[in-house]
């Protein structure tokens, strides 16, 4: 990543100055974080605070260390204020996320066991966590395909984000078809997206014969994916923006992986009819069914989180937390497996949102113990 100083420099400098307050604090931070480098080599010693802040950013860019320096600023901001990390999140287009605030004493954790996904509580999915732990070592074939399904608003996309969090950063691409604008997504656009727009030489095709483009596009796609060991993560496979040939391409790509044509490449699909996948995938692919957490899952989440935060919680406290989380939420499972609210009870998406808010509260309460 190359930080664009002409676009964001002024705002970043102003926030650094505001947050550090003094040149001494700023330079002390530099000496603590950028080792083996004299502070005077990084920032001019005669300039104003603004100039020095600008110097740090320019130095980081010139050394190709801008991401590293911004990450350190986001991880360990002056006075623990969130303002600078938030700004860094913005200027880096979300590439540098504010990590756990070290002053809270939270220890790092294996992403597969994380309590949060994209800052939101993630309580359950034991099966998904287990699959993802071993997924990078999966054998070629059906073992390299994971299908996530479930009813609406039960957290399929949430599972996808979790999978993305567990995927090797440099080998993963997330194709969220739900993010496509309101126009048809054709087979070529999808193939290019799956390759994260790194290749622009996809075969041309006649728009009146998009069906016949599926074969050449698959050949091109598999040739590009071969040997990359990529994790291709596709969400919202049933969206209506997909043209029929584009939808066929997803199925065919799954078939190529099932046939062992793309050893090392992993495919995670959400919102797709597993039974319609080719070969043995309906039976032999990994499968995770998204459901809202139940009492048992929330209880495990509370206990594990407390342990991780090195807090002691009594059985009664755990019980209170869990009961509080589900207070007023009564969902029933319909014959088709979907969950709906009864009468004035919350609908499934409302229930999901309520649970999330309550898990946040629980997290705060445990930290406060």
């Amino acid at each position: 990543m190359a930080l664009d100083l002409t676009k964001h420099g002024k705002r970043l400098v102003a926030t650094i100055v505001k947050e550090f307050q003094t040149i001494q604090a700023f330079e002390a931070w530099i000496s603590q974080h950028i080792l083996n480098e004299n502070v005077a080599n990084i920032v001019g010693q005669n300039g104003l605070f603004n100039d020095r802040a600008f110097d740090l950013l320019s130095w980081a860019i010139s050394k190709g260390r801008d991401t590293e320096v911004l990450q350190m600023l986001a991880d360990d901001p002056p006075n623990g204020s969130p303002e600078l990390p938030n700004l860094i999140y913005f200027v880096t287009n979300a590439e540098v996320e504010p990590a756990a605030n070290k002053r809270t004493g939270i220890k790092p954790i294996d992403p597969h066991d994380d309590f949060f996904v994209t800052q939101r509580p993630f309580a359950n999915r034991r099966n998904l966590r287990d699959v993802l732990k071993m997924f990078d070592q999966a054998q070629p074939g059906a073992d390299s395909v994971l299908v996530i399904d479930g009813d609406r608003y039960t957290g399929k996309s949430y599972s996808i984000r979790f999978a993305a969090q567990c995927a090797p950063k440099d080998r993963a691409v997330v194709v969220d078809i739900g993010r496509w604008k309101s126009r048809p997504l054709n087979v070529k656009e999808l193939a290019t997206w799956i390759l994260d727009y790194k290749h622009q030489d996809a075969p041309s095709f006649d728009e009146t014969k998009e069906d016949s483009a599926v074969g050449p596009m698959l050949t091109w796609l598999t040739a590009k994916l071969k040997g990359t060991k990529a994790w291709v993560i596709i969400d919202h496979c049933n969206r209506s923006v997909l043209t029929r040939p584009a939808a066929d391409l997803i199925v065919e790509l799954a078939g190529s992986i099932e046939n062992g044509l793309l050893p090392g490449v992993k495919l995670i699909l959400a919102d797709i009819e597993r039974a319609n996948l080719p070969g043995v995938l309906p039976y032999r692919s990994h499968h995770d069914r998204a459901v809202l957490p139940n009492e048992e899952a929330v209880q495990q989440w509370v206990e594990a989180l407390a342990t991780h935060l090195e807090k002691t919680v009594t059985k009664q406290q755990v019980s209170d937390f869990v009961n509080g989380a589900f207070d007023g939420i009564k969902v029933v499972i319909t014959p088709a497996g979907g969950a709906v609210g009864i009468g004035n009870e919350p609908t499934i998406d409302q229930a999901a949102m309520m649970l999330e808010q309550r898990l946040y509260k629980i997290y705060d309460n445990i930290r406060a113990l």
């Binding site: 939270i106 790092p108 800052q119 309101s182 727009y197 041309s204 050949t219 039974a275 998406d349 705060d364």
Partner: protein, 928 residues
Amino acid sequence: MAAMRTTAPDSLDSTPEWPYLAGAAVLTAFDADTLRPLGGGEPDFSQVTAMLVRHAEPIKAGPDRGRWRLRDDVRRGVLRTLGSREQIQAALAANVSERSDDSTQRALAELVSGKTPPSLDGRSFEDLLGWERAVEWLGATRITGLPSRVDILERIERHKLFTNMTRLVVGFEGRVDDLRTLRSYVDHLPSESVLEALGRFAGRIRDAFRGRPPLVIHGPGGAGKSTLISKFILDHAGHGRAKPMAFVLLDFDRRSLDPAKPDALLTEVAQQVRTQFPDLAEDSEHLISATGAALAAEDVSDYSKSDFDASATARRGLVELLNRIASRDNQNILFVLDTFEIVQRRGPTAVYTLLRFVAELLVEVPRLRVVIVGRGVLRKQDFPFADDVPEWTPMPLRGFDPVAGRAYLRARLKTSDVGAVSDAQLDRLVQQVNGNPLGLRLAAQVFAREGLAGVEEAIGRQRLSAAVEEERVQGLLHARIVEHLEDEDLKKLADPGLIVRRLSVGVVRDVLAKPCGITFEKTTPEVLFDALRKEVSLVEELDEKTLRHRPDVRLIMLPSQRRRLSDIARRIDDAAVSYWERFPGPAERAEELYHRMWRGDSVADLERRWMPAAGPLLEDALDEFYVVAPEGAARTWLSEKLRRELPEDVRRQADRRVWERDVERKARTLMTSGRFDEAQKIIHERPLSEWTDNSPLWLIEIDILLLKKDGVAQAGVVIRMALDRLKNTDDPDLALALLQRRVSAEERMEDRTRAYESAVESLALARTLRNPVSIFACGVVLLRLARQTNRLGEPEIVSLRTELVGLSKEDAILRALPERPSLMREAAAELGADAPGLLVLALERLGLEAGAFANLAAGSGLTDELVKFFQRGTMPAPGTRDTLTMRADWVHDIAKGVGSGLVSRESLQALARFYAASVDRLLKQTFG
């Protein structure tokens, strides 16, 4: 570690970032710098960034790259909190300048601006996509009067059905006679003239005797066949028609439509019916489910026990559905099979199977009208193996008429820098080439460069009076285009360089330059390649770096070019092989193989370089070889690789092995569709005495005999003969397969003792082969016979059972079972009580037959926990198979229960007993 919040939010609207959340929630995308808060006031950027971190994500591609959007779940939460039209309007008003010009944004604004649901009629495809998303977002609010999302989705699917057709008919003109012929055949709209009405009347009388045979439209590529049928469908069923015609369009250009499996087409038919008739969604779903069951019952290796009932049930479902539409709406239904040349490529048996399928449908659905569209002519003599080849009515699509030809030429000349062109000039061009589309395309190119005089000079003024073959005219035009290329090097590149199919800068430099005499003193490979790219009548772009010689032009010029340039062609082939063999990909391997075949490499060499992924890229090459290449082993080899049947004359003269392989392929295609008599006729093309000792045809012959009511004795004779002949050679796999058939034959003759002995013998042979699937299959049969003869308690059977339970967990078995449903059912029956995974697999794949639930629940040993699982679903409809694939929840729960020990052994035994009863009943049906 991922980010963790440090403070918990209260309700969304009490957080400091709420005004920005509200602003962002009504925007499809926003710029963080200019986002305005709900309620106005100066933005606080620190609150904006706090909102971004918690609730938004950056857009990293497309026109909105660099902007942000709210996560969908947060958006729904915010919209729910905003709740009312007024609040959402206020949030929109705060950010008027931030609104993108996309259909979702427009739909959102429109939906909150009025209280009555806006009409969906006449909305474009993109508009509907936007509406769907906006309605989904607003579904969380208290806003009433929103259009139904289901209704929008139905309209979107309907638009998708027409998208390609709408694109195809842009600029369509003429073809009046052809449209009239179609109108008369389909007979949906009233006649447009008295003459047409009379013609239709005569047609009805004629069809009453002939059974309304399918109309087969055939013509060369580019003639506008698909465009014609699209125009017809849009005229009869397109948007805004008062009484839209019901239609099904199966385009074999779609890879997932397998012409060899008519049953698999039913799913697509059902989906198209569901799209056109949402009120019949339930019936369509039922058909999809039945089709799934039929496909699940297909056994790749065991015809004698395949459940053809499932196929019949699915087809019956289709007939009922189509008849229901026809009678309810009092209309004929159009059923189109497009790009039929793909089926024809497969060979006559695939074509025959489909024609029979269609013919049977026509009998069962009196108001069905079938139109088949393809390049090749259908000929009765292509089906010598069948006595009941269905009738059809050919409709050759000749060249464009003057009106259509004019429109076509004007469209092509639009991109050329030619001045005004009169209708008279265009009409003359159309006449010169007989309206042939390829001829027109080439003539347009010559005309654009040299005017009418150039065209007449190229093909001669006598063209108007002399019957010169169309292809010769096209060849002359092609030669003229090449001759008049302005650049001498480009001319050399086009002739002889276009002997290659695929061109890149590397091919120009390393393959063509030397044989074509190009020295690059005045030019570079890059410049030449770019110049060739502009010759659109000769080449088409595959991607930015690759061109392809147009296949239609290629077939015209290649024969003469190959003859004329045999030595140079050989040098190009050699250079091309050396060039392409350096690359690893399938596209490159296809070119290497193509040139190897042209230069006559041995089959052994071709086999050594074969790569399955290159196969589809050689389909066109095989077409080419059948037109221009000499006879040869390479051609036969490629036919086999591409699973294409050999042409009649080639097969008849082929040696025994090649003939047997081809005939086996044909017979299996026919057997998959239950055409056993035709399959038998094909394999008897040569007498049994001429079959090789280990011919694959022995098994086909035996399987067919075993399925015939009085064929078992004959099957026994053939089995003995085959086993006897097998003594001359070493083929233990075939020996095992024959022994397995012997078990079936003896069971069929109710000689269980001998059947048991044969099963013991086959298991012993399977053990020597060390193939786990064979051991498993033979072992399961032996267990069944032991159960039926009360030998389950014998020590060797107990030990075998333990062995098979262990085997059932092996990957090889789990991979094989989904393709062998008969074996899966038997395995679930014999081993399910001890191998619950097999039961789960069988439940998921085969489901439970109708009525099974009632039997299971009524005191058959099924314990409460499984009854509970089944009660969660609805009962299967009478007379249908419940595949359970639609009820993934059940299987999921059962699997979970089985894995965790929640499901008792009694329940497993009960389920296994169900499958055992099912196996016994099916065997009785097959043998009985």
